[in-house]
Symmetry: C2
Subunit: 338 residues, 2 copies
DNA sequence: TTGAAAGCGTTACCAG
DNA sequence: CTGGTAACGCTTTCAA
């Protein structure tokens, strides 16, 4: 019944012109104080709110960005969303969050819809299926700035990601130095840069310490709980099973952990485990897992900053790297009492 | 450089009128096929996209809803967001997601901003601080439909929530029937209906089985990891410590679990534990926790449905309840081998 | 200091 | 079948 009141409405009530109301409301000079007061009072009384769509139409800017993540119900991505959103809010941007379900077709559709919404920019965390980037090309044609975060790719796009190679290397060195010799790597598919980088870090560390590389200990498959579970069970069933596992994703960490426990093996005495996962996952398990602590808040912040720069016309393609560092807990320390 | 192309642009290129272009694009009758084809071709070529802000202005509808959650990085809420969003997308709505940080002031601000964005409706999960509802009254004045979900309240607003009383009762009965006699309740503050309901269910079960109620075993405080941790440690330090714990929130479940483990107590031999938590949290722990499995997807779906009805002018205030049911795992079964 | 009018992109109505 | 115009809410330029 009581519709949103517009400037025109206020103007009519006061018997003046809209433009005067506009000026009064905006606080620009050029309207006598007495009249301004009356306008402001009436606006207040009727709960006047500027219509953002009229604004957008007028200025061609929507103060809105889009975020695409593979699975918002997964802790790591939810956290990233949280911090990107917090940062965006501080700059007066609202976020439209979409979930690709880790599927390429959905990712394409999400981007499509965000462009339709005329968001000013998009922060995208790639799905694990994404191998071609024509959809990003299309965005570039539409002049919508895009920043890749967390799961990035080698395309002509600004990115914010973790130091995957070095982090994985560090974790592997830690395992080796703790006495492990048969270290398994449980990772995502080779088409994902993130998975490949982490595997590289792992291999690098093995070479560095002259630990032989065993192909049968490297599992690169679909990132999901079930595949993590079956891959780990396969590893544990080998004639010479691994004495340590490094995982490349929180889901795989959980799956591997549960697979080990279900086999009645003890962590870390029988097998050590570490990898990329959230603080949360690491702390929930018993024993708590040594893990690569990612500064998710920092990544969120950097991602938005990058995006804002792009929105403001900066067209340098920079690649920001946020450090993940090893946080040692009990799942990799053999000489602990249990 | 290459701006978004508008109907007017296309009209100019073809030397015809905008209204004709509009009709052609909309597919309404009243434009000859030959001309329509040319318009469509040109639109396609230049990547024409309807401007949703012009639409919104025209129709006064934005096809957008707002979601407010206490903490999107927490699994339970992230899941709810995921499913509300999925459902919304199917009806052609986009979601603006905001995070109140579980604080009242932020909640107010989130609602304010969503109203400013002219969302057509808002799905709100209350912060644990929220005790007065003037902000909801204000929304009602603005004619923005609101649906409360998960954490609801006794206000004149449609709600979608779990069957908190019965679920808590069921879990408590399970503990009693498993031999527990000194059952602690670890819950949120008494100002939250959800916490109160769950406590009621707990008390009901005790009375039902004639188990004495012990005040010192009931802890109702702030919902956070740290307070859950210290409350549990206090409980464990009692002269007569509890032999089972029921928790009212996922955060508290994790905290209690870790507190117990840190004290070197065995679950379930020394103390049983169960409560409200996500599938995830239950499965991550070892032993896995018996838990109240909430059909989060169903709740998300129902929430959006309720909201959509409101948006479409239905003003009945209905209260939908989704069942949570006990899923028994190892943390409450004493006669299991470990 | 105030008013009038144009324009942002779209659709609907009324003429031709 | 097509063109012209008004309207949605707001800002800005120009004129008074």
């Amino acid at each position: 019944m009581k519709k949103n009141v517009s400037q025109r409405d206020i103007a009519r009530m006061l018997g003046i012109n809209v433009s005067t109301v506009s000026r009064a409301l905006k606080g620009v000079p050029g309207v006598c104080t007495e009249l301004r007061e009356r306008v402001l009072a009436l606006a207040e009384e009727h709960g006047y709110r500027p219509n953002p769509f009229a604004m957008s139409l007028r200025y061609g800017s929507t103060r809105t960005i889009g975020i695409v993540v593979p699975d918002i119900s997964f802790n790591h991505y939810a956290h990233l969303v949280k911090w990107i959103e917090a940062e965006a809010k501080m700059s007066g941007y609202m976020c439209i969050v979409t979930d690709s379900g880790d599927k390429y077709v959905n990712e394409v559709e999400c981007l499509e819809q965000l462009v339709n919404m005329h968001v000013e920019g998009i922060a995208l965390c790639l799905s694990q299926e994404t191998t071609d980037f024509v959809h990003l090309e299309r965005l570039k044609e539409s002049k919508v700035p895009v920043v890749l975060f967390d799961r990035v790719a080698d395309v002509d796009c600004p990115t914010a990601s973790f130091n995957d190679v070095q982090a994985a290397r560090q974790a592997t060195l830690h395992l080796i130095d703790g006495g492990a010799r048969r270290i398994a790597f449980l990772g995502g598919p080779n088409r994902i840069k993130q998975a490949v980088d982490r595997k590289h870090g792992y291999l690098e560390a093995l070479r560095e310490r002259r630990v032989p590389i065993r192909k049968e200990l490297v599992k690169c498959g679909h990132v999901s709980f079930n595949s993590g579970l079956s891959d780990t069970l396969e590893l544990l069933g080998l004639p010479e099973p691994p004495d340590a596992i490094l995982t490349d994703h929180g889901l795989l960490s959980i799956a591997a952990f549960q697979a080990i426990v279900s086999k009645g093996l003890r962590i870390p005495q029988d097998i050590a485990i570490t990898g990329f996962m959230s603080d949360w996952v690491s702390g929930m398990s018993y024993p708590r897992m040594t893990f690569l602590k990612q500064n998710v808040r920092e990544l969120g912040r950097k991602t938005f900053k990058l995006l804002l720069d792009q929105i403001n016309g900066d067209d340098t393609v920079s690649h920001v790297v946020v450090n993940a560092r090893l946080s040692v807990r009990e799942s990799t320390i053999k000489d602990i009492k249990h």
